[in-house]
């Protein structure tokens, strides 16, 4: 099997997917690994998280631009830098923010082979592609882009805040195979999404035509769906603070629901080598209450206004060309606000990894122990990704996981993803009796100067973990 490891490494490396929380994936003495893979092998018998503190996860990233690219303090003109960024960034570049706060987390061993775990967490997920064409039109206008389409499909974003109630079961089928599943109930607090937009605006020269140009909007079909927003909007004197307070008050029982599952497995090919994979959030959100949809659709073209030189006496009003033009625009380019229910997929996350262990640990000399010795060094590779509107975002992480003692473990990771080719990560988990604290930071080179970092992520938490022998 050792001979095949480099081949698998290369296959995985070049087939790629991404991010998620690779620093906590496959960490068998952290309950959070069960959130990444409900079929993960685990090395504890009970756990209970410190409420609100068992996992705080923050990550943010931008594939096309850093704060330094715009705000560099180098004496050059900021508008020139904005212009340069606008030219380099593409409509496939994106910005993302993800936050998870574990409110409650607990679990215990059930029978000889099972482990039940459950909890509640709150999640915020914002993902927006760079709206290149609308931004270019706003920043630079159409003068330098005669004949070029400004596509409305570049406006593509989603954002949601929800609370997730989950319960999962991890089952050790035999010495080699462990499987698991997690059922999730989503309680939607807020959602806004606009994907699958269509249409374009363009200005084309019209030699032989009635005027210099033809301006046209063709096939405009833009929809913004929202849930949990209309009631905020309608409230009088609503401020950002009040809106946040209102959203927080919906935290436990949001107005819209959804269902989802996580599935995963781990298979020990040999004592030293194992493979595993998981999917998370295979689920749907049903937006039925407090829903408002904003629709913009139609086609329109114009060469300008055409005076007709009517015969008027001094008292007759002129033809209201502008009003007629506006009526034509309103008739052909329409906007409509509806209250239609809609359904969204949760962003499906997937992970696959292999792991190779070396250096067996020495267990206490006790004939009652049924545990197998663990490996002190683990080398692995994780391929992970998230489904997004224009296709999956992906990344590959290679790691060295070192168990220094039964109470101390760290992981060094190197990752390549759409944000950067040099993502170094570090995780440390430590136990003081049964109290565990862990901290993981990804892209630690970026932390030295966040202005130049394309991404940063951080997970930390504390909980009680029991390893009854």
């Amino acid at each position: 099997m050792r001979r095949f490891a480099p081949i698998i490494f290369l296959l995985f490396f070049f087939s790629g997917f991404s991010q998620n929380r690779p620093l906590l994936y496959n960490v068998d003495d952290l309950p959070q690994s069960l959130l990444q893979n409900p079929g993960a092998r685990i090395d504890f018998t009970r756990h209970i998280g410190v409420p609100f503190l068992s996992q705080i996860h923050l990550s943010a990233g931008s594939t096309g631009v850093t704060a330094y690219d715009i705000f560099a303090d180098d004496g050059t003109n900021v508008n020139q830098r904005v212009s340069n960024v606008m030219r380099e960034i593409t409509s496939g570049d994106y910005f993302s923010i993800n936050e998870q706060l574990e409110i409650l987390s607990f679990g215990w061993k059930m029978g000889a082979r099972g482990y039940f775990s459950a909890g509640i967490y709150q999640e915020l997920d914002v993902f927006a592609y760079f709206p290149k064409d609308p931004a270019l039109l706003a920043f630079e206008g159409n003068a330098d882009y005669i004949g070029q389409d400004f596509k409305f499909s570049d406006a593509n974003f989603m954002g949601e805040v929800l609370t997730v109630y989950h319960a999962g079961f991890n089952y050790k089928v035999d010495a080699k195979l462990t499987v698991g599943g997690r059922f999730k109930l989503y309680s939607g607090i807020f959602n806004a999404e606009s994907t699958g937009n269509d249409g374009f605006f363009r200005t084309v020269e019209t030699p032989g035509g009635p005027n210099f140009y033809l301006h046209e909007v063709r096939g405009l079909d833009v929809t913004v769906n929202t849930s949990g927003y209309a009631s905020l909007k309608e409230e009088e004197d609503m401020t950002v603070d009040k809106a946040v307070a209102e959203l927080l008050s919906r935290s436990f029982f949001g107005q819209n629901g959804g269902l989802g599952v996580d599935l995963g497995f781990n298979y020990r090919v040999t004592d030293q080598f194992s493979i595993n994979a998981s999917i998370q959030d295979l689920g749907l959100m049903f937006h039925q209450k407090d829903v408002e949809n904003y629709n913009y659709f139609g086609s329109f073209q114009t060469n300008g206004l055409e005076p007709l030189f009517p015969e008027l006496d001094g008292n007759e009003p002129t033809i209201p060309y502008w009003e007629i033009f506006e009526e034509r625009v309103d008739r052909n380019l329409q906007e409509e606000t509806t209250n239609n229910t809609y359904t969204t997929w949760r962003p499906l996350k997937y992970n696959a990894s292999f792991q190779f262990g070396t250096g067996k640990s020495i267990l206490p000399c006790d004939y009652l122990l049924s545990k197998k010795p663990r490996f002190m060094n683990l080398f692995g590779m994780i391929i992970s990704g998230v489904n997004r509107p224009k296709g999956p975002t992906y990344g590959v992480t290679a790691y060295w996981d070192r168990k220094v003692t039964d109470n101390l473990r760290f992981r060094l990771a190197y990752a390549v993803d759409e944000f950067t080719l040099t993502k170094l990560g570090f995780m440390m988990s430590s136990r003081f009796k049964n109290f565990n604290i862990y901290l993981a930071a990804n892209d630690i080179i970026g932390y030295t100067n966040l202005a130049k970092a394309n991404s940063a992520s951080l997970q930390l938490g504390m909980q009680f973990i029991f390893k009854d022998l």
């Binding site: 704060a67 140009y213 206004l305």
Partner: protein, 183 residues
């Protein structure tokens, strides 16, 4: 045991250093105030295609050497013109097949009908075989931009010089504006 404590301290220290010393360097976020949108918009304005019938009274068939029309350009009153217009260049193009000179006067009027500024020129005579073309670009200076902001109506006026009822031909007009804004 001593070893593990040392490692714990070392890595806790390292992580603390990384996280707590993390900061934004070499950037000046106050430049956000200097970021401006500076779109250059090319926009068609008016156009027309006239022939001899446009100079004849539809009821009496009497010849009228002077015709005019007024078009309200409501967008000139919008905030983006009033607050953000920095540069404007107006282009007018006439193509004349009438065998007569035509005086063109394009006037911009305020709400009260008072003239703010005008662009006047003579369109040379043309013929069915040889169209005369006059292409005029007027770059507005800051004073005229202010006058454009005060304008709301565009009057196009034509006067055929020396023709009579036998007038025959075509006159095409195209116009556009290049507007540069700063927001």
């Amino acid at each position: 045991m001593r070893n593990s404590r040392y490692i714990k301290l070392l890595f806790s220290g390292l992580i603390s250093c990384v996280l707590f010393s993390s900061c934004f360097k070499d950037v000046d976020f106050s430049q956000a105030e200097d970021i401006t949108l500076e779109p250059d918009l090319e926009v068609d304005l008016l156009f027309y295609q006239l022939n001899e019938t446009d100079f004849l009274d539809s009821e009496t068939n009497a010849y009228t050497p002077v015709i005019r029309d007024t078009v309200r350009l409501e967008f000139l009153d919008d905030d983006y013109i009033q607050d953000g217009l920095m540069y404007a260049a107006l282009r007018f193009k006439h193509q004349n097949k009438f065998p007569y000179q035509i005086n063109s006067n394009i006037r911009f009027l305020g709400e009260n009908g008072r003239s703010q500024f005008n662009v006047a020129y003579v369109i040379p005579e043309g013929s069915g075989a040889a169209t005369s073309v006059i292409d005029t670009t007027r770059v507005l200076d800051s004073n005229e931009i202010e006058k454009l902001r005060r304008s709301i109506q565009m009057v196009v006026e034509l006067e055929v010089v020396g023709a009579g009822k036998e007038l025959e031909g075509e006159l095409d007009f195209m116009s556009k504006g290049l507007f540069r804004f700063e927001f």
